[in-house]
């Protein structure tokens, strides 16, 4: 594990290195996300952006972990990147400039956790709808919460009720 070329090449960016059932796990600084991923893509062929999601630890000081999974078809290896960000305005760099696939998946993480992706110009709701209140995958969002009823809207988006 110690002479892993990927971990060695990125040594100065890595806070913590781990191994999760054979997958390399790197915890990096949020500020270096885009350069680190760009190097992974250019030097090691991590061309496939598999996944982005977040983990909510309400009791921890930086509250969220944002988790990326990347795959290199050339090396047939996967790598997991993790970075910690805190409240009140959780924001990370968007990877849409490197991968088209990041566009949709960042939208999902944005609505589910309220994490903003700086550089993604399309953060409209994707699985939820406009008018949904709160971020359902945060731990403090109760299962049984009911959402307000969204009134009928006309073509321009104005409510047609109550007027």
């Amino acid at each position: 594990m110690h002479d892993d070329p990927i971990a060695e090449a990125l040594r100065e960016h890595v806070v913590e290195r781990g191994d999760s059932f054979g997958m390399l796990v790197l915890r990096i600084y949020p500020s270096t996300l885009r350069p680190v991923v760009a190097r992974l893509k250019d030097e090691f062929g991590f061309d496939l952006f598999l996944d982005v999601t977040a983990i909510d630890y309400p009791a921890r000081a930086p509250r969220f972990d944002v988790v990326y999974h990347l795959l290199s078809p050339r090396l047939k290896r996967r790598v997991r990147l993790k970075l910690a960000i805190g409240e009140p305005d959780p924001v990370v760099q968007s990877l849409t400039s490197l991968y088209g696939a990041a566009r949709y998946m960042e939208r999902e993480t944005h609505e589910m956790y309220g994490i903003r992706f700086d550089g993604n110009d399309d953060l409209r709701p994707i699985l939820l709808y406009e008018g949904f209140v709160g971020h359902p995958l945060r731990k403090d969002y109760p299962m049984e919460r009911e959402q307000p009823i969204v009134p009928y809207r006309d073509q321009s988006g104005r409510s047609t009720e109550g007027t």
């Binding site: 598999l50 998946m105 699985l127 709808y129 995958l137 299962m143």
Partner: protein, 405 residues
């Protein structure tokens, strides 16, 4: 209620810069959007200039539900992800939990899971091809393939008790062993499938109308496919032989002899053909699994994981308590995190599971291939004809349950 509503999810395409362009709304409920998806297209005459695709109409909070259920109770939810191949979802999820637990499956379980994965893959590919050719008007091919699919469903029903949502996996094994005569019937269904696939090839492969609608439509390069996160048959149709079953073999795939079919053009026709070739490979793999299927139990006997036998529950206080604890508190999975990826019929199906050491997942995230594929769909339909949206959308095999979770 004084909640501030933003504008509804309207596409930025609603107002077109060019007065000659028209915005056409397809879906969310439309015969060609099997599943519910909304495609808002800005068209100039018949050609699509820009497209905006909305999914989420089938969202039911799978990941939130999973955090509130025991590990076993999540299994029925995984059925409803890709409901055309529920067993593949079952096995991928179960493997994530089993690896965290560190349990070793019995050989018969591993081979049976491999067999059933491939068997279910046949049903999924058949459904995909059937639905997409039906939308092009190929009713005969559709009915042939639906016949095949129904034979497979009925046959799996005999094994699992359900046609569609099997919930056949258990953490540490399978629900039950094969019933008598199941393997004999399996061979009959496979031969039937082969006979019908021949007819499909005869009907479609060189059919002028079919080729004209599919060739060079929705075309993409390998680099484009990788950039937009395409995996599975979509990626392989561009010529890149990437398959998790070959690259990082799981279950018993390392001991199976099979090829990875690839396309040349990355267009709709290649996607159709790759799926048809994969069905052939799957049939061969199922036969290999039948030949190599070892005997023995299908489930492990680890008391941390498996429910005790019913007669012991009724007659022994220890087993009764044990049963109670497993049902109420669930399996206690050691703290840790794992990402397990299986080659589902649509592409890479990943389960990212985090356990805090309790009886319920702390977080369970699904990397759903359909969701990623829909995210890049607009790049395939922009620049094409309005009518080409239908075959292209059919060829990505978007499954609402998996896409919207």
């Amino acid at each position: 209620m004084d909640v501030e509503y933003g504008p509804p999810v309207r596409s930025p395409l609603q107002e077109t810069a060019d007065p000659d362009h028209v915005v056409v709304n397809i879906g969310p409920s439309h015969p060609a959007t099997h599943g519910t998806v909304q495609i808002i297209a800005e068209i100039d005459g018949e050609s699509v200039k820009r497209a905006d695709i909305h999914c989420g109409y089938l969202h039911r909070g799978f990941e939130k539900e999973a955090e509130h259920h025991t590990y076993h109770n999540v299994i029925p939810y995984t059925d409803r992800l890709n409901y055309c191949s529920a067993l593949n979802n079952n096995f991928a999820y179960a493997e994530a939990v089993e690896q965290l637990l560190g349990v070793e499956l019995t050989p018969r379980c591993i081979w049976l899971r491999t067999l059933l994965s491939e068997y279910n893959r046949i049903a999924d590919h058949v459904t995909c091809v059937a639905a997409s050719v039906m939308e092009l008007g190929a009713m005969t091919a559709f009915l042939y393939m639906m016949t095949v699919r129904d034979y497979i469903y009925e046959h799996l029903n005999h094994l699992t008790g359900a046609r569609l949502t099997y919930s056949y996996v258990r953490i540490g094994g399978l629900a039950r062993d094969l019933p008598d005569g199941w393997l004999e019937r399996l061979e009959e269904v496979l031969q039937f499938t082969e006979r019908y696939l021949e007819r499909i090839h005869g009907l479609l492969d060189r059919n002028r109308i079919f080729v004209d609608r599919m060739r060079n439509v929705g075309k993409m390069s390998t680099a484009h496919a990788l950039n937009w996160g395409y995996t599975g048959p979509m990626l392989r149709s561009t010529g890149l032989a990437m398959d998790i079953r070959k690259d990082n073999p799981y279950l018993a795939y390392g001991e199976l002899d099979f090829d990875v079919p690839v396309g040349i053009n990355g267009d709709n026709y290649d996607r159709y053909y790759v799926r048809m070739c994969e069905i052939d490979e799957s049939i061969a793999m199922v036969r290999q699994c039948v030949r190599k299927l070892p005997g023995g139990p299908v489930s492990i006997e680890d008391p941390r994981v498996m429910l005790p036998k019913k007669e012991l529950v009724y007659n022994q206080i220890e087993s009764l308590i044990h049963h109670f604890k497993l049902v109420i508190d669930g399996i206690q999975v050691p703290a840790g995190e794992i990402y397990v990826a299986h080659e589902s019929p649509n592409g890479e199906l990943g389960f990212y599971l985090i356990s805090d050491g309790g009886g319920r997942p702390y977080k369970l995230h699904v990397r759903a291939p359909s969701f990623v594929h829909v995210g890049g769909l607009h790049t395939l339909i922009e620049g094409g004809q309005l009518a080409d949206i239908v075959p292209t959308f059919g060829s990505i095999n978007m499954i609402g349950g998996e896409c919207d979770r």
